[in-house]
Symmetry: C2
Subunit: 338 residues, 2 copies
């Protein structure tokens, strides 16, 4: 019962050679449809699954995708937005027979670079969930032979799947002008080493005038989270430039802003309105529910997985491009149409 099934036992059972079985499993070489079908049938019946270690050892393919969840950015599995993209990536990849393995900068006792780690683990490809585009080690990896894809970082030579951040801010600006009919707008953002944040800030800076808006403040903080939003908003409020609406570059930040506004005794949306970015699960549960730009986390994760796997499997040095996923404005209660 605990006897392991191998291509040898199968070959024996069927009166064939192990090599033939292998070819069939991998869809290679010439085998008569007759034997092919017989073998496939048999395999399914007895529930045979190839030993991944043997396969890896021999073929140099590991069916493993390394995941970089940049540590210095202090983003862990707890970060709802990214872990949800990752979840979708994972689902897709698993369906294609790949496993994920988190890349850490050491292995056993040894400290090592991302690239070394990948070499040693022989991952087939790398998914960079978030990354610092100035990180030398990351760039070393990106520019190596190992296929990489990212859902945040934009650098030369890297295929990335990213939300249409410009469109997101455009939506917000249009909405502010046409629906909210407001003038004075501020923005609070996370750091520009995240490309997504940078794009949002850039679009804002370059276009608010087009919508006849006035920029009262722009705070670029050094964090991603609630506390960052809170502190930045306190700072902003104390400057008394009196923005009518604040655009936050993430929902976590937006939620912190909301709290700060309350703590300062103002009301949302009557005194100040707020627009977030992401649409995390909690956005709709907050009081008041957050108006925000929704990113399509499912598409983001799945497309990234799809593209990475196709890089890996058709190892033609694929066209690396920036693929852009549309976003959408979700109107809730932190804004008020006039």
């Amino acid at each position: 019962m605990d006897k392991r099934i191998t291509i040898y036992t199968i070959a024996e059972d069927l009166g064939l050679a192990p090599g033939t079985i292998s070819k069939i499993i991998n869809n290679k070489g010439n085998v008569s449809t007759e034997t092919r079908e017989a073998v496939l049938d048999y395999i399914k019946r007895i529930g045979y699954v190839p030993s991944s270690s043997a396969r890896m050892l021999k073929s140099k393919r590991t069916y493993t995708i390394g995941v970089i969840f940049s540590e210095d950015m202090k983003i862990g599995l707890e970060q709802a937005f990214f872990s949800s993209i990752l979840q979708n990536f994972k689902n897709y990849a698993e369906n294609k027979g790949y496993e994920l393995s988190f890349i850490v900068r050491k292995l056993g006792k040894n400290k090592m670079s991302y690239y070394e780690w990948c070499l040693n683990k022989r991952v087939d490809g790398v998914y960079i969930v978030v990354g610092d585009y100035q990180d030398k080690e990351l760039l070393e990896l990106v520019n190596s032979k190992i296929p990489c894809v990212s859902t945040d970082m934009i650098v030369d030579n890297l295929h990335t799947v990213i939300s249409d951040n410009a469109q997101g801010i455009k939506l917000a600006l249009e909405y502010i002008k046409n629906e909210l009919k407001l003038k004075k707008v501020a923005m609070i953002s996370g750091p520009t080493r995240s490309k997504a944040f940078k794009e949002r800030i850039d679009y804002f800076n370059n276009n608010y005038k087009k919508y006849e808006l006035e920029k009262t403040d722009l705070i670029i903080a050094d964090g991603f989270g609630f506390t960052t939003g809170y502190n930045s908003a306190i700072e902003l409020l104390d400057k008394n430039n009196n923005p009518e609406v604040i655009i936050a570059s993430s929902d976590d930040i937006a939620l912190g802003i909301l709290k700060a506004i309350f703590d300062r005794g103002f009301n949302v949306p009557d005194d100040i309105q707020v627009i977030g970015f992401d649409d995390i699960a909690f956005a709709k549960h907050f009081t008041p529910p957050l108006t925000t730009i929704r990113q399509d986390r499912k598409k983001l994760g799945e497309r990234a997985a799809k593209d990475l796997i196709s890089h890996i499997e058709n190892d033609i040095f694929h066209s690396k491009e920036i693929v852009t996923i549309p976003v959408e404005l979700i109107e809730r209660k932190t804004t008020k149409k006039k």
Copy 2:
């Protein structure tokens, strides 16, 4: 440069036999301290790392831990509480040289049971993050030769690391009696198929009288989340039994309750007080910040990892036990001392 370092190249470089290198790496057999140190040194210098596939192939050990994140319970990586425990588990395990691999019920095209999957993947052990203790397949796995550990499910023959749920509710009850000086208490909980919920409900039912409390309502809902809490609280409020304080069996539920109370026009903590369970990151950010029973997610995850790994490595059929991690009451603004 792309030449792979193996125990062969090392042996050659050092004028030794491959077998000797292997022994040293694995700390086995008799090797003179002299050669041992020389080899260890050399290995560190050139940054050699054993090929895991070769090792797996030969030794039957995969250094991989399967993770079950029960799907039918609709809990994904997005669930902050569980993913944070998992994160801590992961950190510990990785440090010990293990990798995590999520168990899915199929592999490639084939549907398969948890147990079959584990057999095929040859995982060294299994970590059940959350599980339904009535799930036949799960029980099959638990009762197999494969070492398992859980941080939620309690069944015969399963080692589990779990918060002291009884103590948590005890803390809440004491606090209600002695500090809040309240009488009428209600509870809203998730389903009893999660052992943690069951324990909390049981302790509450069996002990509220001891604290001279009056139970106005007990709602056992079928979900875990915000919406569950919201709907249950609306239901409860509409019954007009007027509890003075509501104990929620999770923070997500508590937050939903808070929202429902607001929506019905009541004030927290003046009209009704609320106590949660978990202390998720968001609990302190909510308005008002949630009083709750904090679970020690770090200890939970790390202890589970530690115990599993020791099961695996000292494959003595280890004492399976329930290990219990203390909890703590965090007082914030949804309660008010009298």
